[in-house]
């Protein structure tokens, strides 16, 4: 039981931190790309959209090659650690968060943007209003990002190494239990995974729907 608790904690820490980092980078990036007009913007958006389908195993492979002892970042000694898992999962979640944010920003009424600017809002105020307006989509962005990384097995397996008590997360734990013929334990972990997904999504949905209830 203790072991399951450990696995759940590792999963939440790794995927939670990855989502936070992906959000902190992806949301501002999405706002900037969504609002501005520059050469090659369509190409960039197409690229980000492609990134939504980034296969986790491919991300895992690249991170392994970069962070392995023989790789360019090998001196950090980070392969087979939670940090490496966070890096891989951030790369997986980032395009999702960014792409959804871009889509949300583009739906905002241009009139509102013009008014906000003409009323003399500071950069920070402007940013806040934009986020407020695109709140629904940005929360969808976070849910999509979290859903993709909490259920992802390819990258965490490769860069984390599924080390017992250290880098085993729910998905790699399911794989390991299955490999050992312990189907019951695998199912328990699967149930826990679904429960966590539900709780996190419920929380995000509550935040998302909070104000719209008044309408």
């Amino acid at each position: 039981m203790n072991e399951i608790f450990d696995i759940v904690r590792t999963s939440l820490e790794v995927s939670g931190l990855s989502l936070i980092i992906a959000g902190v980078i992806g949301i501002p990036l999405g706002v900037i790309v969504g609002l501005s007009r520059f050469r090659g913007r369509k190409w960039l958006i197409a690229l980000v959209n492609t990134g939504m389908g980034l296969p986790p195993v491919l991300v895992g492979l690249v991170v392994v090659m970069m962070m392995g002892r023989s790789g360019p970042l090998g001196f950090l000694g980070l392969l087979y650690s939670r940090t490496a898992m966070v890096i891989a999962q951030t790369i997986i979640a980032l395009p999702l968060v960014t792409a959804f944010t871009i889509a949300g920003i583009q739906k905002i009424d241009p009139e509102l943007i013009r008014q906000t600017v003409s009323l003399g809002a500071t950069r920070l105020q402007f940013f806040r209003i934009i986020i407020q307006e695109a709140r629904l989509t940005i929360l969808v962005a976070l849910m999509a990002g979290f859903g993709s990384i909490i259920s992802e097995v390819g990258a965490v397996m490769m860069v984390g190494g599924n080390i017992r008590g250290e880098t085993t997360v729910l998905t790699t734990g399911i794989l390991q239990s299955t490999r050992m013929g312990m189907f019951n334990q695998a199912l328990i972990l699967g149930g826990v995974l679904l429960a966590i997904s539900f709780i996190v999504n419920l929380a995000l949905t509550l935040i998302q729907q909070k104000r719209t209830d008044h309408y």
Binding site: P28, R82, T83, L124, R179, M180, G181
Partner: protein, 287 residues
């Protein structure tokens, strides 16, 4: 715009900050190992005991023997626990290993459908059993993943001079447990290490396989496990790394190899699995 730049910087720095806490530590060694040792549960028993005795923490990466040696060739491991004798010899000849000790063994088993259509149970060796499977073109599932078990299977086919080709020969490319499940579903034969087979067919387990052992205990199914300490001179430090001359943690790797062949550990190994399966899963060399 200033705040965005700040956030961007923060997120780039954050992983670096975390990494300070998890810096390379001489009390940590990376063990690349075959899956059968982990899947049978023995590895956990060994690493726990090793940690208690020496304080070394083992990061065990369970992959096939072939992949474990490939990792080691790139210097991604300190010590290996593998079962692929031919490849191990090549590995040593190439100078990647500093020392190698074969310290335990068990037997592969040939498992197949309970009615044994190829009649493997009447054979006196694995070679003969394989020849019969090929002759009858009975379904056979191959691991197909360069693991120690796959290497053993390939070697056995070579001995029979029957070429495993055709619709009956299925290359799965997955781990042992899954291969067994596929064999059960497809009424096929396969070669398995005994530990994984026992774990998957355990009484009361939800995963009861429609398979039985059709051939085991014959000399050509012997399965030797070795521990290999990596040669640090092969992996000189190319990047600025902490305190160590080489990437390889020789002291830790050597401590683990010594631990494995110590009398107390050998006793632990020879008794492992007896309470659960009524027989040990691994035997000591020379016994």
């Amino acid at each position: 715009m200033k705040s965005i730049t700040y956030y961007l910087l923060l997120t780039i720095l954050l992983p670096a900050l975390i990494s300070c806490g998890t810096n390379v530590d001489n009390k940590e060694i990376i063990l690349a190992t075959t899956t059968s040792v982990q899947d049978s549960g023995l590895l956990d028993v060994l690493t726990d005991a090793f940690r208690k005795e020496t304080g070394y923490k083992i990061k065990a990466i369970a992959v096939g023997s072939g992949e474990a040696m490939a990792l080691a060739r790139r210097g991604e491991a300190d010590v290996l626990l593998v079962h692929s004798p031919k490849d191990e010899e090549t590995f040593m000849q190439e100078g990647f290993g500093k020392s190698r000790a074969t310290f335990m063994y068990n037997y592969f088993v040939i498992v197949g459908p309970p009615d044994d259509p190829a009649g493997c149970s009447q054979t006196a060796s694995a070679k003969e059993a394989f020849a019969r499977i090929a002759e009858k073109q009975a379904n056979f599932i191959s691991r197909g993943d360069n693991s120690g078990t796959h290497k053993k299977e390939t070697a056995l086919w070579k001995e029979t001079s029957a070429s495993p080709k055709g619709k009956w020969y299925i290359q799965a490319g997955v781990g042992m447990g899954q291969t067994l499940l596929i064999a059960g579903e497809k009424k096929a034969y396969t070669l398995s290490d005994k530990g994984t087979y026992l774990a998957f067919s355990a009484e009361g387990g939800k995963s009861k396989l429609a398979l039985k052992i059709v051939r085991d205990g014959v000399p050509d199914l012997k399965n030797n496990y070795s521990v290999i300490v990596l040669n640090p001179d092969k992996f000189p430090k190319i990047n600025p790394a902490p305190a160590r001359r080489s990437w390889v943690n020789l002291a830790g790797a050597q401590a683990f190899a010594d631990f494995l062949v110590s009398p107390a550990t050998l006793k632990l190994i020879s008794e492992y699995g007896r309470d659960k399966y009524g027989e040990p899963l691994f035997y000591l060399m020379g016994k």
